[in-house]
């Protein structure tokens, strides 16, 4: 059973280093499985998608980057604020040529860099455009759009920027556009998923991020716990080992049985590593406990050593599907 059947726009955020781009790509593949068309977008000019799918840098154009199981397709778009602004001017004012004039005057620079609020409006506006296309003209229609969004610390602000702009501009098309972006983002057709790993800071940021989303009337979706590893240490030894008590005789005897030379120093190192491992297992369980208090659907994705290969992305997609997220 898919947890988010009504959702058209999946926003994926996460603290730096948690693998949010990889998860966004895996989610896009999962959503495309069985013949659906999915757009994967990024907005931070990092070209993370191109690196992930091993393609040349993406232009401001929707390009197919992968075929999913069962024939679906994943398209990708790196949204550039300057191009989005020019497109916007053309669409609403037939002002493509004025665009180059405005560029010379520094107005485009102003809109996209100096007033970064506008930049985020342009970025979210383009995402909305892709997510709400209708049959008559206007480009490819997607079954779902996945946004590889800015990190957790900035996500509520980023998504909420349209509210501020709507407050600044009391009328006119920018206000209208800002309002309709917010309407989509606050509707049941949008879910904001947060990616984390089982470490203190990313989990804390996830907790804070969800609180901020709720405070700004946005809908937290799933929590995706990435890079999960199963404990290697036997369950009944975790407590002792974490407390620093590891039976070195056990290890020395085992090494001998396995035919491995192990002087006391090696055995001591192995014991210390076992302690570290046990401590990490306990910390991870504590973090998982914290996440469970959030009362959000939570999915675990195992650590995959080749997560950045297509096969790794497919594995993430399969996991998310098997876990019932898609």
């Amino acid at each position: 059973m898919a947890e988010f059947p009504a959702v058209k726009l999946h926003v994926v955020s996460g603290k730096g280093g948690t693998g949010k781009t990889t998860i966004a790509a895996g989610l896009a593949l999962a959503l495309a499985a069985g013949g659906r068309q999915v757009l994967l977008t990024e907005v931070e000019a990092r070209q993370g998608i191109a690196q992930l799918f091993d393609t040349p840098p993406l232009p401001y154009e929707e390009r197919r980057v992968a075929v999913a199981r069962g024939g679906g397709e994943v398209y990708a778009l790196a949204i550039d604020p300057e191009q989005a602004l020019l497109e916007y001017l053309e669409q609403f004012y037939n002002l493509r040529r004025a665009g180059s004039m405005l560029k010379k005057l520094g107005a485009i620079d102003f809109a996209t860099t100096i007033a970064p609020g506008l930049r985020d409006v342009l970025l979210t506006g383009k995402v909305m455009e892709a997510a709400t296309r209708e049959r008559r003209g206007g480009g490819r229609i997607y079954d779902a759009v996945v946004l590889d969004a800015p990190p957790t610390g900035r996500i509520a602000k980023f998504l909420n920027v349209n509210t501020e702009v709507a407050a600044l501009t009391r009328m006119g098309p920018v206000r209208n556009q800002a309002n309709s972006v917010m309407t989509l983002l606050r509707s049941p057709r949008t879910a904001v998923h947060l990616v984390t790993v089982l470490e203190e800071m990313p989990v804390q940021e996830t907790v804070d991020g969800i609180a901020e989303l709720i405070a700004t009337d946005l809908k937290p979706g799933a929590v995706i716990v990435n890079m999960v590893r199963d404990p290697l240490i036997p369950e009944d030894r975790i407590g002792d080992a974490a407390a620093g008590s590891v039976d070195t005789d056990d290890i020395a005897r085992g090494l001998k049985v396995a035919g491995v030379e192990g002087d006391p120093a090696t055995v001591a190192s192995l014991a210390a590593e076992m302690s570290d491992h046990a401590r990490r297992v306990m910390l991870e369980r504590q973090e998982l406990e914290t996440l469970s208090t959030l009362d959000r659907p939570t999915y675990q994705v195992p650590y995959i050593s080749d997560a950045t290969e297509l096969s790794g992305l497919q594995e993430i997609a399969d996991r998310l599907q098997a876990a019932g997220m898609v």
């Binding site: 280093g17 100096i114 009328m171 049985v257 491995v260 090696t266 190192s269 990490r280 910390l283």
Partner: protein
């Protein structure tokens, strides 16, 4: 021992010498690599070695902030208690409040009536409190202010969690360029259109621009924006000059950059951009701190050997604990080898960058003791010693 013999080991960063000589240390790097912790650890070590130090942090984790006594948000440095002052040093710490920093500039540079108008302008409120990018301008501004007081021998700066580490370098100049630019003249044109003879083409440009803005934003918003920009212009006056000065400060002898990274592809790529950029700008790079390096004390027992031995034990079902220990070791040693390989690849591409590594910690650091331990690691761990 895990560094391939083919490439020479990088030169170690001489952290203690740096801490005794530098006057400004800027810690930069991608988000999530431990910049704030590194900045705090460097500051604590310098203070305990006898210097008077101020650390400017941007967005510390809650428990680290508490450990540094950063509970009062009054935008001024406060003494950190628990620092060993036997060597004659001291440590003050502050957390940047960007809105307040911005407000202070307004209050300092505009008369009361004008300041009031600016502080209430909706564009100002939004720009100063929530728009990304403001943080970078204000971090630079605050650094300039702290430096100008002459109160500290060393200021350690943690940079904002930007989209790109380079934003920190570019933001002030971008703002300066903007305030000097034609855009400003366009937006303030209605206020002074009567007075001066503009070129015709320019007038056309103004008209078209204001038309577009009018249609896009509505007349009231345009008026707010125009007022905001014109008051900013008069208020800042020499803002560009200030931005230039801060930028120069970063090039002065006594300033050094510390690039912080972790042995992951994205973080190293970001670090590489930064290193190259500093070279182009002729800004002094003290070196790179490589956080979260995995290490193993039993590298003599190879990954392959460990896995084979664990399989042997698992096949018979004997000694499950030793089998688990062998697998834990195999994992840990592979991680250490991978990290060392990434470090040496970075070194091969940037042979002149001094490097120092910090071992992965079992848990996050949130007390002075933990910061001291990292400081000691920084001062003594050359790369490749895993």
């Amino acid at each position: 021992m895990t560094t391939p013999a083919t490439s020479a080991s990088p030169t170690s960063m001489e952290v203690d010498r740096l801490l005794s000589e530098a006057r400004i240390l800027v810690c930069c790097g991608a988000g999530g690599v431990g910049k704030t912790t590194t900045a705090a650890a460097l500051a604590v070590r310098a203070a305990e070695q006898g210097r008077s130090v101020c650390v400017l942090t941007i967005d510390p984790a809650r428990r680290l902030a508490q450990a540094m006594g950063l509970t009062e948000l009054d935008n001024t440095p406060r003494a950190v208690s628990g620092i060993d002052t036997a060597a004659g040093g001291r440590l003050d710490a502050m957390m940047l409040d960007m809105k307040r920093t911005f407000d202070d500039i307004v209050l300092a540079h505009a008369d009361d009536a004008r300041a009031k108008a600016i502080l209430a302008n909706p564009f100002y409120v939004s720009l100063s409190s929530s728009f990304a990018g403001t943080q970078e301008y204000m971090a630079m501004e605050k650094l300039g202010q702290l430096k100008a007081t002459g109160k500290w021998e060393l200021i350690v700066v943690d940079t904002p969690p930007s989209r790109s580490a380079l934003d920190f370098l570019d933001a002030p100049q971008r703002l300066g360029r903007f305030l000097d630019g034609r855009m400003i003249r366009l937006l303030t044109a209605p206020a002074r259109a009567g007075g001066r003879a503009y070129l015709k083409v320019f007038t056309i440009g103004v008209k078209m621009f204001t038309d577009v803005l009018n249609r896009m934003l509505g007349a009231q918003a345009l008026k707010d924006l125009s007022l905001f920009v014109s008051s900013l212009e008069t208020m800042f006056g020499g803002f560009r000059e200030r931005a230039d000065q801060t930028y120069k400060l970063l090039k002065e002898p006594g300033t050094a950059f510390v690039v912080v990274a972790v042995p992951e592809r994205d973080a190293l790529r970001e670090a590489a951009y930064f290193v190259e950029r500093l070279e182009t700008e002729q800004m002094p790079l003290a070196g790179m701190v490589l956080n979260r390096m995995h290490t193993s004390g039993a590298a003599e027992l190879s990954v392959e050997r460990s896995i084979a031995a664990a399989e042997t034990l698992n096949a018979t079902g004997d000694e499950p604990f030793a089998a688990a220990a062998l697998r834990v070791h195999a994992d840990r040693l592979s991680a250490a080898i991978r990290d060392a390989r990434r470090a040496s690849q970075f070194h091969a591409a940037h042979p002149r960058v001094r490097m120092v590594e910090v071992a992965a910690q079992a848990s996050d650091v949130h007390d002075l003791e933990g910061l001291r331990a990292i400081g000691a690691d920084l001062a003594t761990n050359p790369v490749g010693a895993a």
